[in-house]
Symmetry: D2
Subunit: 348 residues, 4 copies
């Protein structure tokens, strides 16, 4: 019997286990033979649920992880070898995918410094000066993350403004939605309000950070882009053979708003943690806490003390900034115990 090493991790929502309803759905899918590669009943059912959430034109493609979701999404949005992607410097595709965009897709990321992970329409237009210059890459996609990698959220209006500037300039809007559920929970809106209604063209909907075991969905909102997706999914190494087991998980999350309940719990716990420590001298919360992540600057000597008791990552060593993340399974008691530990450790 394997026992986990940590009572509680605040390192990542990937450290949480799977939600019981997700586990039940996987077990229920294990019945008899079923066609592979998505031609099964569970994947068909997921398509229905995705259309319910994202609109009748939504086409869903189950993939295996978040980086895969991004690469598949972007690969279908770009058809010319000299097209480029405009994204924030902090974008996951720019920082933590080991150069997959450049190596697997072959595209240049035109990265934009931002104060809090959010791109603005002006950021985009300022990168269009090379339009028509044959020596420069030609931006074709604007890529944003909702929630951003710094824990902040775009409002529906902010997304719509980006979609408008993208479309007005012959570009498409991509959303890395690894934590899209957390954004919708924070903003109190539907998934559709942040995506389809705001003009997003292709997005990913994260399952694993929301209580799944494995698997994400790419949702294509422009039917003309979807034809290529099945080929690209195979080629980008994202086609699961026994897809039913992944589809069943995503369907479970999309049933009875489980995704929202899970995300709300995670967000609420992050807020509770932030509220419990924000007054501490020497502790500085760097970005608005709008999801399930807190970025905090701490006195440097307190970091190893805390890390000896709780698992969490140093985000940026030069500034002594750490990241604390909550998940669907984080409890108020866990937060309160952690809060007490932090307060005692930082006590002058």
């Amino acid at each position: 019997m394997i026992e986990p090493r940590y009572a509680k991790s605040f390192a990542s929502d990937n450290h949480a286990g799977a939600h019981p309803a997700v586990m039940d759905a996987v077990a229920a899918a294990n019945t008899g033979d079923a066609p592979a590669y998505g031609d099964d009943e569970w994947t068909a059912a997921l398509q229905d649920r995705l259309r319910d959430e994202f609109g009748a034109h939504a086409a869903g493609f189950v993939v295996l992880n978040g980086t895969g979701a991004n690469m598949l999404s972007l690969s279908m949005m770009m058809t010319r070898r000299y097209e480029a992607i405009i994204c924030p410097e902090s974008a996951h595709i720019a920082t933590h995918e080991t150069g997959a965009s450049e190596r697997v897709l072959g595209v240049k990321l035109v990265t934009v410094p931002t104060p809090d992970g959010r791109l603005t329409p002006d950021d985009v237009t300022a990168r269009l000066g090379g339009r028509g210059n044959i020596s420069e890459v030609q931006p074709k996609v604007v890529s944003i993350s909702e929630v951003t990698e710094l824990g902040t959220c775009y409002t529906p209006d902010q997304i719509a403004a980006l979609a408008e500037v993208a479309h007005d300039n012959g570009m498409l809007l991509h959303m890395d939605g690894a934590r899209l559920a957390n954004a919708a929970a924070f903003l109190g809106c539907s998934l559709r309000a942040l995506t389809t209604d705001a003009g997003v063209d292709v997005l990913s909907f994260g399952g694993s950070k929301n209580g799944g075991l494995v698997g994400e969905a790419v949702v294509v909102l422009r039917p003309d882009l979807a034809d290529a997706a099945p080929y690209l999914r195979r080629q980008t190494l994202q086609l699961g053979s026994k897809m039913r087991y992944i589809s069943a998980q995503l369907t479970a999350l999309l049933t009875d708003d489980l995704w929202r309940k899970n995300a709300t719990q995670a967000n609420t716990m992050a807020k509770r943690l932030a509220d419990g420590v924000s007054d501490l001298p020497g502790l500085d919360i760097r970005y608005p806490v709008e999801s399930n992540a807190i970025f905090a600057t701490l006195p440097p000597d307190t970091i190893p003390t805390l890390q000896s008791q709780y698992l969490f990552h140093t985000w940026h060593a030069p500034t002594n900034t750490v990241r604390w993340m909550t998940a669907f399974n984080t409890t108020p008691t866990e937060i309160d115990t952690f809060t007490t530990t932090i307060r005692q450790t930082l006590k002058p």
Copy 2:
């Protein structure tokens, strides 16, 4: 409640469900928080099991699917942009990965026609004529599949001979082991006899076709190749975040020789099917049945009749060749019923 559409599929071992022990292992892994990306106890336990099977130098890397396993394996074996891979024309990497080798890896496959999916040392040496010619790609990897895509097996001696010719010519030997378990079961040997002891350098060990839900392992048998693997796994979109759920499956298959029991059952059922139909006039079994696949040429008008009752694929339409596959969960009764159906359908 979703019901499967087919009573029985003979289309692929991917159509079978997951083995109950695999399901149990996944459920047991769902306890508390655990580090992501492989720094968990379940993945550590899998490493132990892989070393038991493949030797003390074996380094295992959990990946998400078979194409991903191949791309990760090959990417770590090749360091120069002009290196190439010698493989049979029938290799999965050459035929059914939508050009991932060329697009994701950027390498040329030097493909060799074979009578039954098996490469020979002479096939390899005959492709080395361009050594040192700067206008030609330089073979660096010999890639074989065990079981082959045509259902045949290499013996340990045949693999050792290929390893020798590869190594003698400065090349490495890669094995796509999506159905390695079936080969070891057919040949009555250990996994190690077909890999480590035969001189294989990097291989994949298939989980999903052997009773898993999702996930495979890449096993690196040359320590100097393993350093790059973690970076390459992330970049080739094969790094699962909640890895414990995949590692637990593979460990379950590697416990108490479950992999061999599952493979033996599949192989035995294929043999039973072949034995039951091979005397039929108009039916021609194309390759030796050495695993869980049968390739049969049928009278053309009988194919749609049979496909209306059972799910299976036409493998090569111009020659009226179909593929029938069995799996760990195929029963003698299912085989016998299918045999009867075939016999009746082909009755003159």
Copy 3:
């Protein structure tokens, strides 16, 4: 003063020097300042000449070498990452470009064995069985070489038949025209008859093998493909800065049918050589001599004897096959002397 090492090379038409008219054109272009990257008067003049030869819709793009011409041509014809190219096994893009198609373009070449380097419509249709199968690459381009790498020529009708099968199946026809001039000279037809009128979509027109110093032209016959070409030319490393010096060479070759005179001389000399040796016992001419190349099988011991006196390449060592090439500057006397040497060397 550097002196050449060989009195005469029969190894390649690349070994010939530059035609005096080409040299004069380069010298004449060296007058004052001129815009770089093709915005100069000499490149404008070349465009006019190319339109004269290939039709009003032809758009020309000067590039730096033959492999670059092929990569630029193919890159503009393919917009999806899973598209593939059907070509003969003997195609230069498949054999002698060090894997540039796979590495630089990222595409799979679906290669077809042929008796003499020529593809047929049936060869093409036989490779379309995977249409719509998401696990297989999807052919988008049929690529032929005129003259082929084995010295044979397609007739206008043969090219038109390939264009028809390509277009009927949603594909495009590419022509590697490194020796297009030799084909038109052999067939006694215009460049246009072999390209525009036959339905070719994109082709290269070789300059260096026809008496130039450096540089080729890509000619785009479908206006919708041309927009991307300037970006792709820069990206594929084929944009010459002082383009006037290359454009001037190509214009010289296209003036007063110099290209045809040069090609005719080369072809005639190859025919003279073939006629002079074809009756020799032990010498077997492998392919019809339809251009400026002769492929001959010789008694193995005679090859080094001849190579000690004349520079030429062994084409295929296992069959003792050599290649002899002539060029625009080959003279009857040179052929007759070489013929005599061969006859004496092979004398029983």
Copy 4:
């Protein structure tokens, strides 16, 4: 007879013609047959000259243009798919090669903002925080341009300091030397002092901007890197067939220090122009004039007036910054006439 459209261009040193000695060398190389692809006497002679300048271990590779030189250089320096390049934001490889680094090489450029195009050792070390993090690319090459794209020069000591920090961290130092001659002329030092002696590993030596027609040289200063270069040159579309004509040009430039004379003339003329206009109200010279380029901010309405008389590029429209370049053939009279025109146009 084609006449150039502009009396004088200040847009680029690529707009100048070829130096008469270069033309003579090309003409002299046009004698008889010679082996292709670099196995000729002219290329052997160039190798000797390169060794004279760069040291006995220098291996030269003739290529076709500057972007090709960069891609070949970088491709031989990087063997792992997850390696990255640290370079200034203003680097040609980052800004004006239409994404070739990302598309052709597949690498991420880690770009650094700089005040004047020059990277510092601290810039490099600050980008090494992700060493060993498998989610981040791993820097392998530091790439600098000498002269920089902003017309400034690194001193030998500055280059040596970058080489030291690169080598101390397991990286290599690459130099884009499209205008290396101008730097050596400005600094009054040898080519070797800026390269071999300073610890550069691979560099390009620009021919076309120094009075050549076409062609550059890649110079490899670490013998262990050179083995791969011939294959990579072919694959990166940079192998010229009739190489003698390019080698002869480069040899001409490297004979009797013609490269230094040409560069000195260009630099002197740029200095003369800068001196003649730097006192003008409303005109601001943005970077130290250390080569043959001047970047000047002008009153916006004066730019079109000047551009109607002289060809030059607007470098950065939002700040009304133009670039003026001189070349080996620029005369004092041309500078003085241009200076007068500028002064009159900017007169209040």
